[in-house]
């Protein structure tokens, strides 16, 4: 567990989290949320939690983003805040 790498990935996770919330277009929010999950999966892998990383990669980055895009597809893309 190289703590410098862990620190960098953690800051990337926090930035993509804040970006996923502040961006106005919902589709890019969904994609940013996929990126957030992927960064989270890297964080787990670095911390040695390999099974959790695998699950987060498949379930978090994979299927959640598809569900988000499917939902945005049936509602609107633009949001006020």
């Amino acid at each position: 567990m190289i703590w410098e790498l862990d620190f960098i990935i953690l800051t990337l996770v926090i930035f993509s989290g804040i970006a996923a919330i502040t961006v106005k277009d919902l589709l890019s929010a969904a994609i940013l949320f996929g990126a957030y999950s992927f960064m989270m999966c890297l964080l787990w892998a670095i911390m040695g939690a390999v099974d959790v990383a695998f699950t987060e990669a498949t379930v978090g980055a994979g299927v959640s983003t598809v569900f988000f895009v499917a939902a945005v597809f049936h509602t609107t893309r633009n949001s006020k805040d």
């Binding site: 989290g17 919902l26 939690a49 978090g60 939902a71 049936h74």
Partner: protein
């Protein structure tokens, strides 16, 4: 006071990351106007708790919780617990990730239904339509 504070932050920054992520998620759920943004905030809140659990199980200098030496002959060397990372939080967090996806699916289904009824995902517009 400054140095001791810094070494404390240096050693616990992972837990600070947990607190920051949780606050991002909580802020999004309360203050954001759009329903899908609230759902994203809910997910960030749940993954922050998962980060907390996994960092409780971390051990410095330990390898991943898979026992490798079983293949070279069946010599049963003694397994020292300090060499392997604590597997219990990983098991709990497999459950929590699966629960967060299940909640996400139901939340998006409800959001689609709300959109078909009120034509918008913005909380204040929906409240306006409810008053008529």
């Amino acid at each position: 006071m400054g140095v001791e504070l810094f070494t404390d932050i240096a050693s616990q920054y992972n837990y600070l990351g947990v607190v920051i992520l949780m606050m991002i998620g909580l802020y999004a759920m309360i203050a954001k106007n759009n329903l899908v943004k609230k759902i994203i905030g809910m997910n960030i809140f749940q993954t922050a708790i998962i980060l907390f659990y996994v960092s409780t199980g971390a051990k410095r200098g330990a390898t991943i919780p898979i026992i490798q030496h079983g293949h070279n002959g069946h010599g049963h060397e003694v397994i020292h617990a300090a060499e392997y990372i604590n597997p219990l939080p990983h098991v709990l967090m497999l459950t929590a990730i699966v629960v967060s996806v299940a909640t996400l699916g139901v939340a998006l289904a409800l959001a689609i239904k709300v959109y078909h009824q009120y034509g918008t995902l913005e909380e204040d517009e929906i409240r306006g339509r409810l008053r008529e």
